[in-house]
Each structure stands twice: as C-alpha cells, then as structure tokens.
C-alpha cells in the first residue's frame, strides 16, 4: 500500500495497464513528455516510448477518430480529452462511431478496447468551460459505458477495469479531487467492477445516491444528518451506464426515501433517469418524493460558483425536507 492522490493513482493505473499489455497506447494533447496538463500521464513516455505515449495535434475530433480506428485494429487506446468541456468537437466520433461500431457491423468489428479519459466538474474556479459535467449526453447513447471514480483507490481499480473492458468506456475524472483526495492505494494490479454500485455506508431512514466528486458533498451532508439522528445509506453509483438499478432499488425499498445529486444542470440530468426508474420500481415503498440536488439550469458560473454548486448544505436541506415530508 502507498498513499496516493487521485492523479497518482490514475498514473499508476496507466503505468500498470501499459506494463501488462503492450497494446495499450496513451495519447492526447500534452500527454507526451510533459505528462498531461494535470500530470496524469507523467513518465509514461519515458517508460514505454514515444510510439505508445504521445502528444497529438490540438484536435479532439481527430483524437477520438484516430482512437476509434486504432481500437478497431486491435490496439487498446487510452485517449485523453484535456477537459470534458472540450469533448464536444469529438461528439460525432463518440456518439455516431464509438457507441455504434459493434452494433452496426453485426459484431464483425468493435472498438471495445477504447477508453476516453476526461477531467470533469466544478469547484476549481474554472468558469463555463473548465467546470462542466457532460455525463448525461453520453448516458443517453447506448453502446458507451460511463464511469466516474470518487477517490484514488476507486480511480485506479475502475480505470484498469475500463481499459480492459470489452466495451468503449468514457472515464470522467473529478478534477476537483485530483490532488485533494488522497488515500491508501495498492500498488498491485487490481480492478473494481464496472456496472456495479458501491454502498459506502448503510442506514435506515434515507438513501443518498451520487458519483465522483459529489460523494464528498454527500459524506459531509450525512455527517450533519446523523448528528440530527437521521440514519443515512450512501451509494456511489460509480458506473452511470449501464447503471446498477438493483442496488438502488434494494436500498430505497428499505429506506423509503431517496436523494440523488449531481453537479450538472437539473433538466435532462442523469438524476432524472434514476428518479423515474426508482419511482417505477419502488412506488409503494416511497415515503416522500424523490429529491434531486443539482446544478441550476444555467451555464456553469464563475464568481458565484459556490452559490451554484449542489453542496453539503443543500443536500442536508433536501434530506431534512424528505424526512419531514
């Protein structure tokens, strides 16, 4: 075991993936000798050479188009999009190509080896274009898997699983936690399962569901709630597509209350999908309306970022409202 922050854990996962399979190739803007603007790919070029870890020109549609072809050929590309906010020039390649490659070819071809990494989320004074959480655009696209880790241990295990999964994976990294989140991480080669939620804490009165950086907000809110004698169950969804319906249903059947949270705007956000599914499956068990604690239906702000964020106090209010309903 070693103490690592999330960037170190991601770097360690990439190192492990490249060491164990020489088909793994990492590339993106500034990913080469510089090691990425956040240093997630530090030293990989030194260790594995320029052919397997390299800079690309500044062209996201090219990065993902190139990665699609490389994956179809049988290599295992790990493409970095420098910020999730800049993934949109590659939207056509991801949505029309990556996601549909296997299906449209009747399984003659696939890009299952592909992983796209992108830092997402707010809380770093990044304004409109360095703060967004675009996961819902991609959860609406069958054929993709969408994974978001919450801490260094999770990041390493989930990223290794994503790289080795037989399907293309979008791996959104909570950049607010890149250095803020530290913990014990095994230096061994390990994977955590995709498509499986993680129950961090069991409780009886209310279920809280989130992913990525929002887990820190949930944990802080739960501290307040437990002081008030409210017993909370915490679920980290980890994989948003395909998501672990059974674990959330089981929890809500027990607690009768659900709060879902994400940084992305409310309307059309993934919390809406969870709320709809849970009310279908748990209708007669619900004690109160399912609450969503999310960003506003606005672009991401700058100076008033703290006001915008769905933080622990907003979550605590939602918990209280649900309990007192």
């Amino acid at each position: 075991m070693a103490t690592m922050n999330m960037l170190q854990a991601i770097n360690n996962a990439l190192d492990t993936a490249m060491a164990t399979d020489d088909r793994v190739v990492c590339f993106g803007e500034d990913v080469g000798s510089f090691g990425g603007v956040f240093r997630a790919t530090s030293h990989l070029q030194e260790r594995y050479g320029k052919a397997r870890c390299f800079n690309t020109p500044l062209v996201e549609q090219g990065i993902v188009g190139f990665a699609n072809g490389l994956a179809a050929q049988g290599a295992i590309p790990v493409a970095e999009i420098q910020f999730a906010d800049y993934i949109f020039p590659a939207f056509d390649q991801i949505v029309s190509e990556t996601a549909k490659f296997r299906y449209r070819s009747g399984n003659l071809f696939n890009v299952g080896g592909l992983t796209i990494r992108a830092p997402y989320g707010g809380g770093i004074s990044g304004g409109l274009y360095h703060s967004q959480s675009p996961e819902a655009y991609f959860t609406h696209t069958p054929g993709l898997k969408v994974v978001v880790p919450r801490d260094p241990h999770q990041a390493k295990g989930l990223l290794l699983a994503a790289i080795r999964d037989a399907n293309p994976v979008l791996f959104f990294e909570p950049k607010r936690l890149y250095r803020a989140s530290t913990g014990e991480v095994s230096e061994a080669d390990y994977q955590l399962p995709l498509g499986s939620a993680d129950v961090l804490k069991t409780g009886d009165d209310i279920t809280l569901v989130g992913w990525g950086a929002q887990m820190t907000m949930i944990e802080a809110a739960v501290e307040f709630a437990e002081e008030q004698g409210i017993s909370c169950e915490i679920i980290d969804l980890r994989t948003l597509m395909p998501w672990d319906v059974a674990t959330v249903v089981e929890s809500v059947v027990k607690t009768g209350r659900l709060v879902v949270t994400h940084e992305a705007p409310l309307t059309g956000g993934f919390a809406g999908e969870i709320a709809a599914t849970i009310q279908e499956r748990c209708f007669l068990y619900l004690e109160s309306p399912i609450a969503r604690v999310t960003g506003l239906d606005t672009p991401f702000p700058l100076t008033l970022e703290k006001e915008y964020m769905p933080d622990q106090w907003k979550l605590f209010e939602a918990i209280k409202a649900s309990i007192e309903f």
Binding site: V64, D92, K100, R102, S105
Partner: protein, 402 residues
Amino acid sequence: MSSTKTPTIVHELALLDGDEYRLPTFALLDPQGMLYPGVESPLLDYDKARRIYRAMLFTRVLDERMMAAQRQGRLSFYLQCTGEEAAVIGATAALDDGDMIMAQYREQGALAYRGFSTDAFMNQLFGNDRDCDKGRQMPIHYGSAELHYMTISSPVATQIPQAAGYAYGQKLANDGHCTITFFGEGAASEGDFHAALNMATVHQVPVIFFCRNNGYAISTPAVEQYAADGVAPRAFGYKMHVIRVDGNDVLAVHEATREARRLAVEQHHPVLIEAMTYRLAAHSSSDDPSGYRSRKEEEAWREKDPIRRMKRWLIDLSWWSEDEESEWLETYRHDVLESMKRAEKRPPPPLETLITDVYDEVTPRLTEQLESLEAHIRRYPENYPRGARALGIDVPDERGEG
C-alpha cells in the same frame, strides 16, 4: 520540438494566393482507351487486368439491376458506383488483399474485387437473417472482416481519422499492411478530413487518403465546395505526398495507388490521391440529378466511361473479347437476379438482434426491455408481423414480404 527548418526572412511584402500549388493530372490511358504516346504497356499483368475488369463489369451490372429493383419497390434504397468503378477498383487492385479498406459508401466495387459474394451483397441489401449487419443498417452498408473491409457508416468523413488510427495500429503491429480510406470531395470539407491528414503526417502512418472527386456532393457542385484547385493541394499544408490522377483511367489509378502503397508501407509516409471522376448516376435512389445538372454534361462524361476505356485497352491486347463480355454480362445478370430472389425470401433477423451487440454482453436492462417488447407483440401481433413471426405467431403477410 521546434520546426526543423529555419524560416527564410524576406523584406519584400508578398501575399500568396495558392496558385503556386496547382497540380497536374496523371493519366496513362486517353479517353478512347489508347495509351498516351510514350507510355509503356502493359502495366498490369493478364490475370490482374482481367480480375479488375470483371469486378468493374459486375459492379455495373449489380448497380443497374439493384437500382431497377429499387424502382420496382423491391428494395428500400440503393446507391450506385457508376462512373467511378476505375477509381475504386483500380485503387483496390493496387493494394495487398490484406490491407484495410475504410470506405465511405460508394465503393461496392472494392468488395466485388475482393470476392464478396453476390449472396452477401443481396443479404445485406435486403436486411435478412444473413445480413452482415444483422438488419441494422440501410442497404449498401456492407462490411467484411474476412475481406478487410470496414463496415460502412452513413456519416461522411468519420472514417478518415479512423483510417489514420487503424494504420497507426498496423505500424505498431509491424504487420506490413496499410489502410486506404475512400471519400468524396464533399466529405473533404468536413473537419474530420483535416484532422486526419494532419495527424497522419505528424505521426507518419501508413495510410492512403483516396478522394473520389466526382463533381457533386448530392446536388452541390465541386465549384461550390471549395475555392482552391481541388482537394489535392491541401496535402502541402500537412507536408503530405500527393498525386492527382484521372479517376476514369484504371491504369493511372492503379499505378498511383501502387506507388502510394509503397511509400506508406515502406516509409510510413501517408499519401493523398485525388481521383478526378464523375458520378454518372444520381447520388442515391432518393435523388434526381435533373434538378441540378444538364443531360449534356452527363453525356460528355459518359463518353469517358471508365469501363469502356479499359475494355478498349484489353481488347487491343487481345486479353478480352466481345464474346467474353456478353457471356460475363449474362452470367452476372443471372447471378444477381437469382440471388435477389433468394435474399428476398429469407426471414428477418431474429428479434433478439434488437438488443445484442450494443455491448459485448446483453445488459439486464436490455433483457427487461426485450421481454417487455415481446409481451407487447404477443398482445398485438398483427401490428408487428415481422416480430410476431419471429416469435412463432402466424400472422398474415404484409406487402413486400414473402
């Protein structure tokens, strides 16, 4: 990494407009099918020349018959290669049969050359239970892993950066192969084209970018597609090897592609080829060119028909005859019609193909959705005759189903 060349400094103000980059057209066969003076013959051996020509003939027959079938209402959609057979097949013939082809959608001739069977064409066109795509894509979206022909995707130009990536994988694997990608001059306006060419030279990948400049992107003429001297000069902006070739001259296309392949495979230099040709048919069965171009223009290009040109060359060499031509045309027409009848009668793909291949394994949610759909079809079978029959429920035939 800085530029390897020190810029030359000048003190006279001069703005350049690109006329410095006008490119000539490489041609070996004249429009009548005679070798230009000074060109040595033959450039293709007997077997390969005949293989190419037969693939061109087959493609012409396939296109004629299937467009007619579409007009009869037997087929939902069709798209012809007519007029561009030399460009597509001449290029394919210059490759190793193990090289990857990532085409746009008008390159059925490449598959014909590599031996895709008539039944394989028909099963895809009719979306039946033996369709390579499992009934998921519109007609003409062929694919074959065995023949190294990537399944077609409707969005234009997406295959171009993918070809660069595929070729990078071939370079890493050091397998001696390259990738060719076909696209039109319209697709070359997409960002994916520019992204691909730049990445290909920066990373030195064994890829051939083959632009079929056929004059039209649906109705938009090339003069409204770009202001420059065609597509080819763009290569200079990326420091890429380039050649413009007469796309209706199968010998020139073959020679140009052979040399491009040599540069790609031996030196990892990507190459852009711009083949000047003409889409003699409509864009697709949904298009009517009379609304945007003249009969006179079409007739002028019909005079330059690539098949007629190659035939003249072959007959002059005594490698082909009118009798053989008649025999093969008859054989191909018969094969296509018989195969079409078989394909039309085959059942649709099983219902479960709605949910397979979205992921490598079917997810629990997809299983639930299929079960729910099946229950619905069992309640209203007459509304879903294909699905009902797939579930073994007897329902009356709908029009167009055997």
